[in-house]
Amino acid sequence: MHKAIALVDAVQKIPDGASVMIGGFLGVGSPHRVIAELVRQGRKGLTVIANDTARPGFGIGLLITAKAVRKVVVSHIGTNPETQRQIMAKELEAELCPQGTLAERIRAAGYGLGGVLTPTGLGTTVAEGKRTIKVDGQDFLLEPPLKADFALIGAKRCDYQGNLDYALTARNFNPVMAMAGTTVIVEPAEIVPTGVIPPDDVVTPHVLVDHIIEMDRSHE
């Protein structure tokens, strides 16, 4: 079982037009080397599922500026005027989703559920075209599961098997996306021998991880 992979080779597995979940919150916890390599290889037509598009020139903002993205499913783009410009110019399709609903839709796909019943969005523009279901007299909005061809994950540590832990607010969407991507590529800040991350501290179990990006040794 060989999971280690060079950055270039990992990103070559992601074709034009693929759907990709990208972890991170305003770039905190995002797999920054993978994102930059997608841009360098000139990938086009991606569907990006993520919390936000960070800022121009940073994190997912690099993909937006490079016009690598056809559609975004995100909760917040207020920090990236270029994303907003592309949406208004109809160069980019956008599905805006409340943050908690986004997390649960991803979780539903990864956990084998047929959707989410949530009160969030009822009576707002988010509810347009969606079914409302009554449970014990209370209305809920039916939100569909959200899966992707690839989950691109930023982790703190990764052991030789692929067990992951995360740092503080860099955790965010990463663990749930690791459940919902058909192929999971992780970019860890550190690779450690198996056993260094104690079982109780493993957040993402190794069985979910397909590829571990090798450390950047360009400075050596």
Binding site: I87, A94, A103, P119, T124, V126, A167, N172
Partner: protein
């Protein structure tokens, strides 16, 4: 004292010892600066932490420890990290005691619009819809008017954040509590008359026999 500080100091009195609270980016976040020292409140940031505090010292930034606006923060002893599902489970599941958010409009039903101005700005709702829908107590902290136009309106013309009625609205002129009957004028700002509040408000206000001057967290 400027208007925003006045609003923040009034809202600070709404936070009770032991509360789990989420403060929106901008004015709401400044409420934390005016908490009395005797009141210990746990602050949640929806990007994934309970126990955030201000960055203790410039130079101590951790790139993996930020608020929901991406700015570096600190963390108190006993802080805990949350993934996005747990973070929003706390919010939507009714485990969050208080949220303080900014507003664009609040109407006579007590409904809030605060996430988009169609055709002008499309920032996305972020966590606002979940926060307003699920938090036990929703407090709107905002200026009373923008460019001379009241933000307390008969009916929201901007897209709603939630159909849930907010619990309290604090502006630089007044404290307003929406209830079944409408918008009740609970307090007026120091030196502001009831008549002045009414004149500055588009929505109909219910005026109780006495409307005391608002208390604020002492400077």
């Amino acid at each position: 004292m400027n208007d925003k500080e006045l609003i923040a100091r009034r809202v600070a009195l709404e936070l009770k010892p032991g509360n789990l609270a989420n403060l929106g980016i901008g004015l709401p976040q400044t409420v934390a600066n005016y908490l009395p020292h005797s009141v210990e409140v746990f602050f949640q940031s929806e990007n994934g932490i309970i126990g955030m505090q201000a960055l203790p010292e410039i130079g101590m930034e951790d790139p993996y420890l930020t608020d929901a606006g991406g700015r570096p923060i600190g963390a108190i002893p006993g802080a805990c990290s949350l993934d996005s599902c747990v973070s929003f489970g706390l919010i939507r599941g009714g485990h969050l005691d208080v949220t303080v958010l900014g507003g664009l409009q609040v109407d006579e039903r007590g409904q809030l619009a605060n996430w988009t101005v169609p055709g002008k700005m499309i920032p996305g709702m972020g966590g606002a819809m979940d926060l307003v829908t699920g938090t036990k107590r929703v407090i709107v902290a905002m200026t009373h008017a923008v460019k001379g136009e009241s933000k307390i309106v008969k009916q929201c013309t901007l897209p709603l954040t939630s159909t849930r009625r907010v619990d309290l609205v604090v502006t630089e002129l007044a404290v307003i509590e929406p209830n079944d009957q409408g918008l009740v004028l609970k307090e007026r700002a120091p030196g502001v008359t009831v008549e002045k509040v009414i004149a500055a408000t588009e929505g109909l206000l219910i005026i109780p026999p006495t409307v005391p001057e608002m208390a604020i967290s002492p400077p």
